[in-house]
């Protein structure tokens, strides 16, 4: 029973990481730094809440969540691809925009600076069942959980098995060479960033609909953990997914310890970042970022 509870919790925690990190892989492999995952998620969480609230349907919320993430992603693409702004600066600026913008519109739409009213989400309320199996069953009714899991093979297939994926990788490794072969690098990068926005927007949608509301700043750094997973997973969709599961398992482990201070919680919170530094230092094999990552074409 404890094992089921553990696995069910890992699953619930890992879904937003999988979605956002898969988006991050897409963006970074195309050469655009995925610093804005956090902002995409937060924006997606907010627009999903709006959609679900006004339409009364979580499916509309889901579409709105994708749209919110894509909208912010297109802004990033406009700044970095069209106007060749510094990717890190633009990324940070858009994160701030997402924090301030969602807060502003939260007040505007719902007259609160704290949280939105309750909105419809996927699946039941658990029907008052406490057991681990019941919560697992509730997760299984949530389409976003399945989308999150399926995203990993789909992004892997897209990157390695399709002409578009080849172009994405070319745009991220050697944009000059790609362009000389007729690849529309700018357009490929815009599409890849939009894809990242859509997936991270879905991650935010999952968070908001799982809580049945939007709360100010509710992503709480998950976008950065997803970015850490991208780097720790060496920009490969499957390894990145593994990193996500690892981080989620560490979190779950800490939660399930129930306050027993076997490991200080500070330490557990450090894990994703420490592992990322370890990975960047080349301890676990060569860690090579896409060659043109962060560079304008």
């Amino acid at each position: 029973m404890i094992v089921v509870a553990f696995l069910a919790q890992v699953l619930r925690i890992v879904v937003p990481y999988l979605l956002a990190a898969s988006g991050g892989v897409l963006s970074e492999r195309a050469g655009i730094v995925a610093l804005t995952l956090e902002g995409f998620m937060l924006t997606g969480a907010f627009t999903a809440t709006l959609g679900s609230y006004y339409a009364g349907s979580p499916w509309v919320g889901l579409l709105a969540g994708i749209a919110g993430g894509v909208a912010l992603a297109l802004l990033l693409a406009l700044a970095t691809v069209r106007y060749k702004a510094d990717q890190v600066v633009a990324g940070i600026a858009l994160n701030l925009l997402a924090i301030g913008g969602t807060r502003f519109f939260l007040r505007y739409a719902f007259d609160s600076s704290s949280n939105s009213p309750r909105v419809p989400g996927f699946g039941g309320d658990g029907g008052g069942a406490v057991g681990a199996a019941a919560t697992l069953a509730a997760s299984a009714q949530n389409p976003l959980v399945w989308i999150g899991i399926l995203t990993v093979p789909v992004v892997a297939w897209l990157l390695y098995r399709t002409p578009f994926g080849l172009r994405v990788r070319a745009a991220g490794e050697k944009p000059e060479a790609a362009r000389s072969l007729g690849v529309p690098v700018a357009r490929v990068r815009v599409l890849a960033v939009a894809g990242a926005g859509a997936l991270a927007g879905l991650a935010g949608t999952y968070l908001a609909l799982d809580q049945h509301q939007f709360t100010d700043g509710m992503t709480a750094g998950r976008g950065f953990i997803a970015l850490a997973a991208v780097i720790f997973g060496r920009w490969d969709p499957k390894r990145v997914a593994f990193a996500c599961v690892l981080f989620a398992a560490a979190e779950t482990f800490q939660i399930q310890l129930q306050g027993a201070q076997l490991i200080p919680s500070q330490f557990v919170e450090m894990i994703p970042y420490v592992l990322t530094i370890v990975a960047l230092a080349g301890v676990v094999g060569r860690s090579a970022a896409p060659a043109a990552l962060g560079k304008a074409e």
Partner: protein
């Protein structure tokens, strides 16, 4: 180049325009008659359903019944907090109030700079000197502090007593000796809640265990409902029936878990019943409105004094909600028991620890 010039021009225009931005509220300068009060909110501002709204209520009540002229400033994220306080102080307000412990340094600094202006800080953090004694704030600065541990003690007792019931309201429960606590950021301010809660639980149920967990070690831990929900789910699954949260909007996730599992939670700071009706046993409320009103009333009566002012059960600065909403959840016998505990604390017969035992 022309684009750049245009951009710089636009930024300059915005900058100049911002110089003319005035805080909302009365625009006339303070006059010698009456009482002028300036209030600077913490991030979030009005509508946070907590601190800022409480301060707003208290100030509006003072405006109605004491005739105080009140001005509010809502700073955005960043460093314009100090600017807001300074603006009000420089205008010669009779009383300037900062809402939230975040204003501690700014208020202490300004109180020294403007010795003729009275300042008050809600939840002002008073530092200790090397010997561990609190450093008294300047004579014109009042630290409005709350004995959160006393209110937490009462909800702890209530949670422990209720965990042994087989039926709460319309739902059946398996009686348990485990009670839950979810804190936000792992810091001494929140440890006060935990310490009082633990003491309350132990007082009525020595054999009970408190499962206490924190959402994190950064300020994000107060805004992480996802983590709050997972912490609460694992506690509920381990047999806990009631969880008290002191974790800002992270606690909204605790309520969500209470809904999903059909269990109970205790709100904090303000009455949070409306966030999950039927699942909020009670809320440990802090009377920010009463404290702010009190400070304004003292300023008017001329009895304002600086230093640390504690608002506990006795001053009705903390308490727990018992009203038409949750009456059905709390049996009369338990209510009587908790009320007796309240009387003992007010009378000084029970001393509630403000720090965790280490």
């Amino acid at each position: 180049m022309r684009k750049l010039l245009l951009l710089v021009g636009a930024l300059l225009a915005v900058h100049v325009a911002l110089l003319f931005v005035r805080p909302s509220g009365a625009l006339e300068p303070p006059s010698s008659e009456g009482l002028d009060v300036g209030i600077v909110f913490d991030v979030g501002g009005r509508g946070d359903k907590s601190f800022n709204d409480g301060a707003y209520l208290g100030a509006m009540r003072a405006a109605d019944s004491l005739g105080a002229r009140v001005r509010f400033i809502e700073p955005g994220e960043g460093s314009d907090r100090e600017a807001g306080l300074r603006l009000l102080a420089a205008e010669g307000m009779d009383l300037v109030v900062g809402v939230g412990f975040i204003f501690t340094d700014d208020l202490t600094l300004l109180a020294k700079e403007y010795p003729n202006v009275r300042f008050a800080g809600v939840d002002l953090a008073v530092a200790n000197d090397a010997a561990g004694n609190p450093i008294t704030p300047p004579a014109n600065l009042a630290a409005l502090k709350f004995r959160e541990e006393e209110g937490s003690f009462l909800v702890g007792a209530l949670a422990a007593l209720l965990s042994r019931e087989t039926r709460v309201g319309e739902r059946a429960y398996r009686p348990t000796t485990r009670v839950g606590f979810v804190g936000g950021m792992d810091i001494p301010l929140i440890h006060k809640f935990e310490a009082g809660y633990r003491a309350g639980v132990r007082h009525v149920c020595p054999e009970c265990t408190v499962v206490a967990q924190y959402a994190g070690v950064t300020p994000e831990a107060f805004r992480n409902p996802g983590r709050g929900k997972e912490l609460a789910l694992s506690q509920y699954q381990s047999g806990v029936n009631v969880i008290f949260h002191a974790s800002g909007s992270t606690g909204l996730g605790v309520f969500e878990a209470a809904r999903a599992t059909g269990k109970l939670a205790v709100g904090v700071d303000a009455d949070q019943y409306a966030e999950a009706p039927g699942h909020i046993l009670t809320s440990m409320v802090k009377g920010v409105d009463a404290a702010v009103y009190d400070a304004i009333a003292r300023a008017k009566a001329g009895t304002f004094r600086g230093g640390i002012q504690q608002f506990g059960l006795k001053e009705q600065g903390v308490g727990y909600v018992y009203d038409a909403n949750n009456r059905a959840l709390i049996p009369d016998a338990l209510r009587a028991r908790v009320e007796a505990l309240r009387d003992s604390i007010v009378a000084g017969a029970i001393r509630v620890p403000a720090e965790r035992e280490s």
